[in-house]
Amino acid sequence: MENHLLSWIVWIPVIGMVAVTLIPRDQTNAIKWTAAAAAGIQLIFSLILLARFDLTTGDFQMYESAQWIPSLNITYQLGVDGLSLPMVVLTAILFFIGVFVSWKIDKAVKGYFALLLLLDTGIVGVFLSLDFFLFYVFWEVMLLPMYFLIGMWGGPQREYAAIKFFLYTLVGSVLMLIAILALYFTCGHTFDMITIMETASPNLAGVTWWGLDAMKVIWILLFIGFAIKVPVFPFHTWLPLAHVEAPTAISVILAGILLKLGAYGLLRVNYAMLPDAVWWFAGAMAILGLINVVWGALCALAQKDLKKLVAYSSINHMGYAMIGMAAVIAAGAANGSNYAAAQAGLNGAVFQMFNHGTISAMLFILVGVIYDRAHHRDINGFGGLATSMPIYSGIVALAFFAGLGLPSLSGFVSEAMCFLGAFPVFRTIVILATIGILLNAAYFLWAFQRMFLGKLNEKYKDLPEINGRELFTVVPLAVITILFGIYPWPFLKYIGETMNVLIDQIVAIGGIAGVM
């Protein structure tokens, strides 16, 4: 345990899954508590990880390595840095909460929790693996439980949603696989991500395939693969459907973590391995981010289904992160060596990923709460709920305000950092994107008004108030949101050094080659 903390974090859910499968199917309570215990232990371990994390370095820590398939140079490698650490902790938190959110699942309980735990391992594995092959395996491991969780426990259109999700992501994975293999063969037959980070750039310099720059080709392949997960416009349409049809806990995990995988992949793979192409593509990324922001907000404004509104708000929020990521080129000499802006943008983007994880999780849980009670999510079908459910309304108000980026809640800090970072380089884009701030407020407040304010809808005057279990799932997220909103440094100090490494890498390239 001493030296294999990361492995423990990755595999504990699988142990839990095995335990769950050994419990007879009618002992649902035992199954739930076992799942909760597995997720809880994982959470504790991830907190230990947090405590042991060395803040002074941006490199990988707690490195673990073992031979796996030596003939193909495939190894089992795990490591954590400032980029994966918050994601791992977020995953642990959301899965722990997710188990309690799923408490009322009554259909095939055993299968549900087993798949949930398998999904957990898949996701944490992606975040921690440092071997491309392992990365890809975890990536695919995660896909299958998700398919079943949506397809079996989802809403009325679940099969359609599941298959759409599956196909979309599969397309992404295939493209990613091609890129991974391309990197494997060009970087000396290795899947070791750290080695590839060092060798990809020199090895691919000047290589062309069918007249196209190899680096750009790989970059685009990877980008599409990850963009589908983020999701970046125009690869986003799986998201509203999957979110709406998925059971609450799965929506929470989809929005909270799965979307982060895409952004994480962009930073871990695209940015760290092919920094040259970042220079070439940053502008396009910023524009895509802008489209995400505005398009997502407009779509959200038009929604009548609360869950779909929240789903579109995810598209909108991830747009900010994209803009923040694009800001990294501000540090280049060609852009005035504005290192502060690059730091603000990149840290802001990662912070935004985390914040969106907590905020959208909160929103989805809250949607689930009202859906459990009223059995519909039609925004216009409610009204005046603040009278009958004051505590619930208060928490929803907090979540909505967090979603619209209210200062003193964490979403604001990260959005502001993304904007501040990107502004020196992409001035027009950022100014246009600020419209998103307004539209965000519009759709959240409008929805709030239609659901909670005005005359109480007589149908719902006896709706029970949010209960203890539900509060238990929401309040930790709300506390995180408020704490990081007031004082973001405890978060940023974990990621800062790693982001500096990333920026340095990209700047170094920019310094040599100039803007490509």
Binding site: T237, L298, N347, L420, F423, L438, L445, L453, L456
Partner: protein, 685 residues
């Protein structure tokens, strides 16, 4: 008093209301009296602290006093954000204003909102508001300013929708927040412009950057205008003025506190704080926005019948004055007007609250739920029934109309002097003077119209008048206090000259030179000089227009020599425009909000019903189609013809070869033998 104690006091002033907010939000309903004493206790402590700071300021009497304290909020090696406080004389005065009005509101509300269903919630939100407003006042940087800026927006949102069962209240709250957000976009763009050039957020660093030319020219102009856009939203300046009148849906004490005295003044306060970075171009924009708003809002106030709406537009107009003062360079005059205005406008609102309270009770007694208790046409003749309210409201009205001996005279005069001096320097901007004096005229007119319609004449609803009573002491004491503070003497001490604004205020709050390097910018001294020169002319003119306005009003609504109705008919189209607020809401709705909603619907339709359904699913359909074809090819072509063909031919061959399969063991043996021989032969060969 040492500087550290100032910071400690400021921290207490800032966080006490927050503590009260937290206590009330979580435990409010379970506390005795729903916990209003928590809020009141916190705010009175805050007030005491503010007063002690104010007193020590008066004792020290140090014009340039300024103290800053900050801590590191974000400290990435290059990207650093420090948040902190700036305590100087302006801050101290502003803190006192906020704490004072907030305390009055807390006390006033104990009666006004007695028995309300969300009584404790209300006090909690008041705490949140006071916290965030003090945050704005104390901020020494744009980031925390922006954060508190939005937080006051939220508390305003929450308080406007206090009676959210009314759709109009919910609408108004949303409108207020969104309109403010429009301004905040500009604010944030301004912050980004400044940060991307200067790389800092604190006022002092920014000013240093402006001074050494790190930021300048067009960028600085746009940054200034961007920041000012935020101020426009918060201070309800044209064309973002639409939310403030609607915000009157909130409880009246809230209107007094936030939508008259303090929160809306935050825009002005911010403009005052960042004045040194406005370029001449930006200042021109500021001046025109302020001037135009002053006149424009006043012209709407004339025709409104809702007592709170009149006061709301009056507030917009007065805020326009302050902005005008900032724009013309006399920003200290603007700040002065902010302070005096806070007192008398809060007083006016409380008075209107008192009247509405009385109306409400009278109507309630009569079981009349149809009559609007805020409509002045239903009032009249309350003078004798509510003597305290009448007296205090009259004093406040005299103050706002700019009658000598009252505080409004001094501050308004300073603003008009500044405007006049600016116009004298730049005759091409004569329109600003028209705005200033025109607004003064109209203000005097509609304020006295309000007084006459409410308190004088014969009651329109005779059945009500007997049930109209003076409000309880918790409501009248704040009125008396604020009315007292509307006398000039409190602002001019130790000087007692009622027509000169020389005194502690002028001594302690000294204008700062602009840091912008532009020859067109006048120094603080030059502006002072100009104002001094224009002082008497401005005074004469302002007295003239005030008198004119009061006289007209007197003729029309007191003596009724002139018929208001006839005048309304005579000026038909104009009157209608004013009555309908120039149709701004309708036009925004028609040309801005609806199109955006329609666009959203279109986009959602494109996204979901076109893009996803046809394009994305199109891939699926194409794949399906291709797979159908390949499926047919596969089944009929390859499988049936080729593969099965092999099978069939094998079958044919088999049935042919079956003949060999005699089933006789010996035949097989023979073949085995043959095979062995063949192998043998081959091996030998």
């Amino acid at each position: 008093m040492t500087e550290n104690i100032f910071i400690d006091y400021s921290l207490l002033i800032l966080f006490l209301p927050l503590v009260s907010f937290l206590i009330l939000v979580f435990t409010g309903k379970r506390l005795p009296r729903q916990g209003d004493w928590v809020g009141i206790g916190a705010i009175l402590t805050t007030l005491a602290l503010s007063i002690s700071m104010f007193v020590s300021m008066l004792i020290e009497y140090e014009p340039g006093f300024s103290h800053e304290a900050s801590f590191s909020w974000i400290n990435l090696s290059a990207f650093q954000v420090d948040l902190g406080f700036l305590v100087d004389n302006i801050t101290i005065i502003m803190l006192l204003v906020v704490s004072l009005i907030s305390s009055m509101t807390h006390i006033f509300s104990t009666k006004y909102l007695e028995g309300d269903i969300r009584y404790s919630r209300y006090y909690a939100y008041l705490g949140l508001f006071t916290f965030s407003m003090n945050g704005i006042v104390l901020a020494n940087n744009l980031i925390s300013l922006y954060m508190f800026w939005e937080l006051v927006g939220v508390s305003s949102y929450l308080l406007i929708q206090h009676w959210f069962e009314k759709d109009s209240a919910a609408d108004a709250a949303k409108k207020a927040f969104l309109t403010n957000r429009v301004g905040d976009i500009g604010f944030f763009i301004g912050i980004m412009l400044i940060f991307s050039t200067v790389g800092a957020f604190t006022y002092s660093d920014i000013f240093a950057g402006v001074a050494d030319g790190t930021i300048g020219g067009t960028i600085l102009t746009f940054a200034g205008i961007g920041l000012f856009l935020g101020a426009m939203g918060k201070s309800s300046q044209f064309p973002l003025h639409i939310w403030l009148p609607d915000a009157m849906e909130g409880p009246t004490p809230v209107s007094a506190l936030m939508h008259a005295a303090t929160m809306v003044a935050a825009g002005v306060y911010m403009s005052v704080r960042i004045f040194p970075l406005f370029t001449p171009d930006a200042l021109t924009v500021v001046a025109y926005v302020g001037g135009f708003t002053a006149l424009f809002a006043a012209s709407i106030a004339i025709t409104q019948n809702d007592i709170k709406k009149v006061l709301a537009y009056s507030t917009v107009s007065q805020l326009g004055y302050m902005i005008l003062a900032v724009g013309t360079g006399a920003y200290i005059a603007g700040f002065f007007h902010l302070v005096t205005h806070a007192m008398f406008k809060a007083c006016l609102f409380y008075c209107s609250g008192s009247v509405i309270h009385a109306m409400h009770h009278a109507l309630h007694k009569k079981h009349d739920h149809e009559t609007d208790p805020q409509d002045m046409r239903n009032m009249g003749g309350f003078k004798d029934k509510m003597p305290v309210t009448y007296a205090t409201m009259l004093i406040a009205t005299l103050a706002i109309s700019g009658v000598p001996l009252f505080s409004g005279f001094l501050s308004k005069d300073a603003v008009l002097a500044g405007t006049l001096s600016f116009v004298i320097h730049h005759p091409e901007h004569f329109f600003l003077a028209i705005c200033g004096f025109g607004a003064a005229l109209i203000t005097a007119f509609y304020m006295f119209r309000l007084i006459f319609m409410t308190f004088h004449g014969s009651p329109t609803k005779k059945e009500l008048i007997d049930d109209i009573h003076e409000s309880p002491k918790a409501m009248t004491y704040p009125l008396i206090l604020l009315a007292t503070l509307s006398f000039f003497i409190f602002y001019t001490l130790p000087s007692v000259n009622p027509i000169s604004d020389h005194g502690w205020f002028k001594d302690l709050v000294v204008p700062q030179d602009s840091f912008v390097q532009d020859s067109a910018i006048l120094s603080a001294h030059e502006i002072e000089e100009g104002m001094h020169h224009a002082h008497y002319l401005a005074m004469a003119l302002s007295l003239l227009v005030a008198g004119l306005g009061i006289g007209l009003s007197w003729m029309m609504y007191y003596r009724k020599i002139l018929s208001a109705d006839e005048w309304a008919k005579k000026t038909g189209p104009m009157y209608n425009l004013s009555l309908n607020k120039y149709y701004f809401d309708e036009n925004y709705q028609k040309y801005l909000i609806q199109p955006v909603l329609k666009l959203a619907d279109k986009v959602a339709y494109i996204d979901w019903d076109l893009y996803d359904k046809y394009f994305i699913n199109g891939f699926g359909r194409v794949t399906d189609w291709i797979s159908r074809i390949t499926g047919r090819l596969d089944y009929e072509g390859i499988d049936q013809t080729l593969v099965d063909g092999v099978g069939r031919s094998a079958g044919k061959m088999g049935s042919g070869l079956k003949q060999i399969q005699t089933g006789k063991l010996q035949n097989y043996l023979l073949f085995v033998l043959a095979g062995v021989i063949v192998i043998l032969v081959f091996q030998t060969i």
